[in-house]
Symmetry: C2
Amino acid sequence: MAPSTNTFNLATASAQQILSLANIRAVLQRLEDTIVFQLIERAQFAQNAPMYQPGAIKELVEGEGWQASWVEWFLKEVESAHARCRRWSAPDEFPFTDMSLLPKPVLPPVKYPNLLYDHGINVNRRIYEYYRDHIVPTITAKFNAQPTTSSSGTSSSSSSSSQTATADDGQYGSAAVRDAEVLSALSRRIHFGMFVSESKFRSEPQAFLEPIRQRDSEAVLALITKPAVEAALLVRLREKARVYGQDLDQAVALMQQGHGREGEDKDTQRKIEADEVVKIYETFVIPLTKVVEVDYLLKRLEHLSPTQLEAIEAGKGYIEE
Amino acid sequence: MAPSTNTFNLATASAQQILSLANIRAVLQRLEDTIVFQLIERAQFAQNAPMYQPGAIKELVEGEGWQASWVEWFLKEVESAHARCRRWSAPDEFPFTDMSLLPKPVLPPVKYPNLLYDHGINVNRRIYEYYRDHIVPTITAKFNAQPTTSSSGTSSSSSSSSQTATADDGQYGSAAVRDAEVLSALSRRIHFGMFVSESKFRSEPQAFLEPIRQRDSEAVLALITKPAVEAALLVRLREKARVYGQDLDQAVALMQQGHGREGEDKDTQRKIEADEVVKIYETFVIPLTKVVEVDYLLKRLEHLSPTQLEAIEAGKGYIEE
């Protein structure tokens, strides 16, 4: 009776099990829940703009020589702890901190099956920047005071909406814990695209030969994209954000005052808006995953042995080595 | 339009704001969501019994001289990172690791208002043990194989249900990240009882004088317990666990097959059972919170100045100093 959502352990399962579409789908769908949960957790705190400003915490600059932001320092500290637990040797985990700043694992290396080639892809900087510039401001906007300036637009600067004062509750530690969780889940989700790429490549490698040799990104993308799956994802994600983002404190209080269960899902206050979560996937997670997927595939042939390449060209499919 | 769930920053708000019942209620209710979310996150992995067995990871014993469990080592690593960010100097944060094993903060100390007296209370060992022995086995039971032994009870040992083989998916790192989150949320929730105690003591200190002097725990408890509030909490918690614990992957898939929204909340697979979450609060969180609340109050008078005590005895209420 093991539930279908239990996913494989990358260290002990076979490459075939891990790269099965059923496993990949289970991982990606489960990560949707995690991302929605952790976004909701972050959204309980204000934007706290200084958390993301390089050099804003003078003690870190003076005492630690740390020129980047508070959140980046917090990530480094937590990722150092995880490095000692060998998190970053797993093929589906990528740190935000430069590996040269992280300590060596205390535990001996794990022998993983051959899953991805040695790709060197890490888009965490782009994830961090989008998170800081778009996701945090959006999900915390409810805490901001209404702008007090008139709409004439003649004040000192109208170049950017970031000129509006944003809310600060001073809870930089608690908010950074949440930031690290959201970023980690987004990173795992987006980089997991490489497992999709590898899985699809192995299942019909011959189809990829010409597009990759032509460096035809569009054609490569077409081979791994299923618009119907993407549409279903967005419907599912909207439902998750709608359900999990409810503020049940209000809903239950209404029920207890005799308003019945219909209090749920009315236009009471919400913890997060479903539209916002869907937009994060539509405008950021899905497109960046595609970039990762295509970048990974464009160099895939360079990492085949002559025997593997020959087999593919002869229409004999992918041979595991 | 700042939402009511935004809670106060302990470093910048006044003691009166922080100890207001509205703020305390908001913190406790918000923590219910966090606890439910993080329990669901942990429940995606198997029990992984060796994670909690002292000395089970031989590399930690040999390389680090660490005799305790993997999870305790992971907690130490993460709590060390948080120590450098001065988390444990906050009056509502308590590490699971002995403070002597944690590094000093890199950031200078924060000046908090006078909230709690210097109490030295930390029940995290009890939280860890209950979590390990009851919560993890319960929320991960769905992964365990059906017992293969007959019900005759004559096998080698029938002394404990822990004799049944429990599931292990080998994902000790990912599961430990979740353990640390659940434990941290439970710890904050349970220790926050001291804020309840302090708040109620300050609002009617005279009522506490005799019970405390008599060391009458029952009477002290009666002064801070509201059965109606507790009953409402359990109703609210059940609703949160019911709603957030749904497996929407199945529900949405049914909807997309034309079954309409009624697919939600049917007897599809769930991520967590509402009964289990309610039981955790009923049998553990609420009773242990009361222990903390009463222990805190029983020594409250020793931490009053003569002026404060005099004022209370004269019926003039609590004077902040």
